[in-house]
Structures are given as C-alpha cells and as structure tokens.
Point group: C2
Chain length 247, copies 2
DNA sequence: CAGTGGTCTAGACCACTTG
DNA sequence: AAGTGGTCTAGACCACTGG
C-alpha cells in the first residue's frame, strides 16, 4: 500500500489522524481553499490520503475543536474565521441607554508611519529598518468614548492603510485588512491587566485619574501563525466583567 | 431488539451517544463509581447499553471534553475532579521572593453561623429559615496577606465545619469538604470584576484605599448541579493577569 | 434528486498498565 | 499474560441541503 499524497512530510510517529490534521492545516495555511468555502469532502479526503472516512472524520474533529473548521450537515466543511465581534464583549459589557447591547463605533484620531519600539518590532518579527503603521482610535457608544486603542501593523503587509483617508476607516478593522490588504486574522492571544487611569485615559475616557482601567493586549496572527497586528485596548473597569466555567 | 438498560429514561429524539452520555452523568451523579476510580470499561458499557464500542467511545469523548472523565490507556476511565489549584493561578500570579510560584497559605479570621442575606440564600437555594456558615479568611504568602475571602455554606450540608476549631482549617477547603462533610465540588462558575479598595481591603491587603482590586466571585456545585458554596475572593489588581487564546 | 455530513456497527490490531 | 483504552477499517443507513 502507498503512503498517500501528503502535502508536507508527515511525522510517522504520530497517529494517522494527527498527520492528516497537520497536513490539512498546511493546506489551509497555503490558501488551498477560499475562506468560508467548502473544503474537500470527507470521502475525497479519505481517497486522497488513502485512509478510511472514520480517520478523516477524527482529523476534522480536531480542527473543528480548534476552531479552524466548521461542519454543516448537507453542505460541507468550511474554513472558519475567528469571531472577534464577541471578543470585546467577553470583557466589556456595553449597553445603550435602553439597555440593549451595542457595538461601539470607531474614530481614528491619529495615524503615523514610524519605526516601532523594540517590543512591537520583536513581537511582529520586523526587521530593524522596517517601519510600522501606528493607529490611535477611540471607540464610542452614543458619542461617548468608552475604549481607547493603540494599533501597530507592519507597513509591508498593510501599505494601503498608510494612505487611506482617516474618515474611510470602518468600525471593524479586520474586514478592512482582508479587503484592502489581503491579511486574514486566523487567531489571536489576549492578555488582560488592570492599570490605573493615566491623564490621557482620564481625558479620553472621561474617568478620574487613578481609577481602575482594564487593558486588553492582543497579538493577532495569520493562518501560518505569523503575528501581524499588535493592539492595546483600554477601557474603564466599571464596564468590565468576565465569566469562566470550571469543570 | 431491546432498548437496553438505561438508568434514567432516555430522550429518544437524541442520538444514542447523547442518551448514553446523559445516562452516564446520572450514574456518576448518583455516586455509582467512587471518585477517581475506574468506571465500567468500554466493552462492558457497550454490552450494558447494547451499543457498539464506537458509540460508547463517542459518549465518553463528550464527557472527557466536558472535564467529567479522564481516560488512561491501559488503566481505565476515571471520574475527574476539577483542578481548582490552578484556578486562582489563572487570575493572580503569586511568586515568592525568589521568583518561584507559590500557593498561599490560609488563616480563618472569623466564623459565624447566621441567616444569610437574600443573594446568598437564593444562590444556594436555601430555605428562609435555614442558617449558613460564614467564613472570613485571608490567604498569605510569606506572612503577607494577598487575598481576602468570604465563604458561605449551607449549614445542613456542612455541620462539621460549624464546630471545627479554627486552627484546624487547612489551606485548601475542598479536601476538607470531602473528608468531613462528604461534599464534592464537581464544577464552578467564576465571575471577575474590578473594584476599588475599601478601607477593609486596604487594611487587610496593605493597599491604598481606592486602588484597583480584583474580585473573583465563585459559585461551586456538586455533580447534580446543585450549588453549595458561595465564595468571594479579593486581591490587589497588581498581582492580576489573565490570558486568552482566540481561534 | 444527488451529495453532504451525522450516526452507528462489528470487528481488527496496537500501546500501555498491572499483576 | 490479561485487560485496558487508542487507532483504524469498510462499510451501512439517516438527516439535511441544494438544485
């Protein structure tokens, strides 16, 4: 029997379904299938890799659990993009005057194209000479600033954003990244900390200097795992809540 | 063919492995197997429920994903207790002077047996006449208080703790619950909030009044899902950090 | 209707643990 | 050596989607 058509050389010590999983990740990262379009069917994959459909299913199960794929009975298996809309809602509870949850709008206050500091440069794996795009935004609910954001992007990947008129930036940046720069966020890591409001925070967010502020620090990466966005979001701690289930 | 020996009446609209999962939960909650001892083998369960081992595996997969069971190749499948040790470490980073992570010790400052307030009474589903045990603890690292805790327990389930000498309370309460009261924590929900230090916080935790404080509010439940512990933990926000992966 | 994923079977053989 | 869970097969049939 033949070892079948792996795109990348598999690790033979691993079970077949793990090898298969890894190979599928490679093919997804390589862009073999369009975002949110169906990948090859289980039967096709079974034939392609010369394994039974049960083994294909197990590999796909892993990727579904990882949030990389979603299945849809009768339709197919699809590449899933992470749902960042809910991300801020995980940490901050924003409500309009009538109590309905709302998504804040956004306004870019400042953009500059400069050499970043060491932390950002190393996080984004940039060369020493490379410049970055730095955005300062506020996010508002009913005209009231509730979050302030600092965003850093490597210029090479995001050139179109260096010249886009500030008024053309939309509330959500990730669709913009996709459309204008063909950069797709596949995953992210967020770290929460509590700080005390600086005078900048105080004037932007309309809170007292020294009052508690939540800082959410996010690093977003592409399907290959390369980080390409550094973001820091600050908001008044009074709007913060977070819930965890332990089992 | 016979419908096989379910302990509780299964919902026929659900797939077999879901029915099986639910039935296994009932049997676990009923105490059919001792904590952290092996449950029936996959082959036995397949015979018992009259399904193939593949279906049994899928049911057990769900419970493993839920954190109710763990498998151990060659040994068996075991009931798992939640790992609460890591819980506080998820939110607070405690280090000793030499940088090693440490578990804080504990000291009970006060115990009273009283009627609880409405929030605690309804959370713990207690009758209006029922009394609760209220503990106030501090947790210390190298003699320094880093967390303060308020704990409420329904008296009926925790009678032995109403009279236990305060010095006999241990750093970890859950082993005590198990040994003295036969109460086993199966799951919990935690909610995080940020508050400003009260004067009580200030004197207990040695922080400034008004400085940010993290409050972790936990409700712990047994295998049947009945909540039986209400706990609130407060610590200086400077020791707080939390990390999330988004996919 | 054809095609997809979802459920389920009845095995086989492997890897690991324990006596 | 006996018993456990771990991997894998080669199917069958069901439930849902879309043309």
């Amino acid at each position: 029997m033949e070892a079948a058509s792996f795109v990348t050389k598999p690790d033979d010590r691993l079970p077949r379904y793990q090898q298969l999983r890894d190979d599928l990740v490679s093919r997804i990262a390589a862009g073999e299938w369009a975002l949110e379009e169906a990948i090859a069917t289980e039967a096709e994959l079974g034939q392609f890799y010369n394994v039974s459909t049960g083994t294909v299913r197990k590999a796909i199960d892993l990727l579904v659990a990882d949030g990389v794929l979603t299945r849809s009975q009768g339709k197919g298996t699809f590449i899933r993009r992470p749902r960042f809309d809910s991300s801020l809602f995980r940490f901050f509870r924003f409500k309009s005057r009538d109590g309905e949850p709302v998504r804040p709008t956004a306004r870019v206050l400042k953009r500059e194209v400069v050499k970043p500091g060491d932390e950002i440069r190393s996080t984004l794996r940039m060369k020493a000479s490379e410049k970055a795009i730095h955005l300062s935004r506020v996010r508002l609910i009913e005209g009231q600033a509730v979050l302030s954001e600092e965003i850093w992007l490597p210029r090479a990947r995001f050139e179109p954003l260096a010249t886009l008129p500030l008024g053309d930036f939309e509330d959500l940046l990730y669709p913009l990244y996709e459309r204008l720069c063909r950069q797709i966020v596949a995953s992210a890591t967020e770290i929460l900390k509590v700080e005390q409001a600086t005078s900048d925070d105080a004037s932007l967010l309309n809170v007292a200097v020294g009052s508690p502020v939540i800082q959410v620090h996010r690093v977003a990466s592409d399907f290959a795992g390369t980080p390409f966005e550094w973001r820091s979001t600050r908001g008044a701690a009074t709007t913060f809540q977070y819930q965890v289930e332990i089992r």
